[in-house]
Symmetry: C2
Subunit: 178 residues, 2 copies
């Protein structure tokens, strides 16, 4: 049980990718105040592994931080779409890949102190490579198949900074031959 009380709630900002809701609340200690919550679509990320045991990665530009990050294919789940279906679409769009075997690795909240964003991660195996279908807003610079050993070395060295690749590697370790 929570000791928070919500007195009222209003949307203070909205665009196609997020809503910001500001609640009037009574905090657990009894003080009144506000709580701002960013509402987001569900997220999905895919760790694709080929028959050699290599992992598909890409380096894409993240506008909010002005940096390229090494990542796995990931994106938002469209309203009304199923999460696994979105995963299949993202893998096709970003990697030109289709997979015959899908295993759910787990789910996580990206930053539950201020947003409801919830991401689900899949392991995709039995891969077929095809043509890519990028969205116009995506700036994909390069992609490659990497050895798991090298990715876990980078993880241990603190060289990976994207939450999808970090959590996916944490969850997939039990399935990979490393």
């Amino acid at each position: 049980m929570s000791d928070w009380k919500k007195l009222s709630s209003r949307i203070v900002y909205e665009n196609a990718w997020m809503k910001v809701r500001e609640d009037q609340v009574i905090q657990p200690g009894g003080k009144s105040g506000i709580y701002g919550v960013v509402l987001r679509k569900l997220g999905v990320g895919i760790l694709a592994v080929n028959e050699k045991g290599q992992i598909f990665v890409q380096r894409d530009y993240k506008y909010p931080i002005g940096k390229f990050l090494l990542n796995i294919p990931a994106g938002g789940v469209e309203w009304g779409d199923e999460v696994l279906n979105s995963a299949k679409r993202e893998l096709k769009e970003e990697g030109g890949l289709t997979a015959q075997k899908w295993t759910k690795l787990g789910s996580f909240y990206t930053s539950p102190g201020f947003t409801d964003e919830f991401a689900t991660l899949y392991l995709a195996e039995k891969i077929t490579e095809g043509a890519m279908e990028h969205e116009e807003t995506e700036t994909l610079v390069d992609h490659q198949w990497m050895e798991p050993k090298e990715l876990y070395r980078m993880l241990d060295a603190g060289e990976l900074e994207d939450p999808y690749i970090l959590v996916a590697l944490a969850l997939a370790r039990q399935y990979l031959n490393i």
Copy 2:
């Protein structure tokens, strides 16, 4: 190099914990549009390990998702404060703990598609237990020292959903006896 162009920028919402900035942009494909970015303080999380090799965890309520999550001590870095200093303060406030040995595990962006939030994780060892000093807004329900093996079993089973504990366990694996 990015192919995004920022034409203008304005703050559309602000409270004590976040600012929302809306940019007018030209997308890589040449289309004009907007990009909403949530600006946040730096974050910090602490994986505290006692002399028995056990890890300090707590189950706290996350208002934005209306759920309790198993987590490690974590919080925001106050403006002007050093990250490590904030880590020491959080560990004292949330766990009543002080540590003599601090090791930086790494840093990650919590959701770089819409926020600049950047979190740093530390391993804290040579622990002394003391009294806790909760903030009024925190609803701490229970805390305990857990065996690493049990936490990694929960991780493998997809039972952990907080990004701080997930990424910290991924990064700390090389330091723990599991």
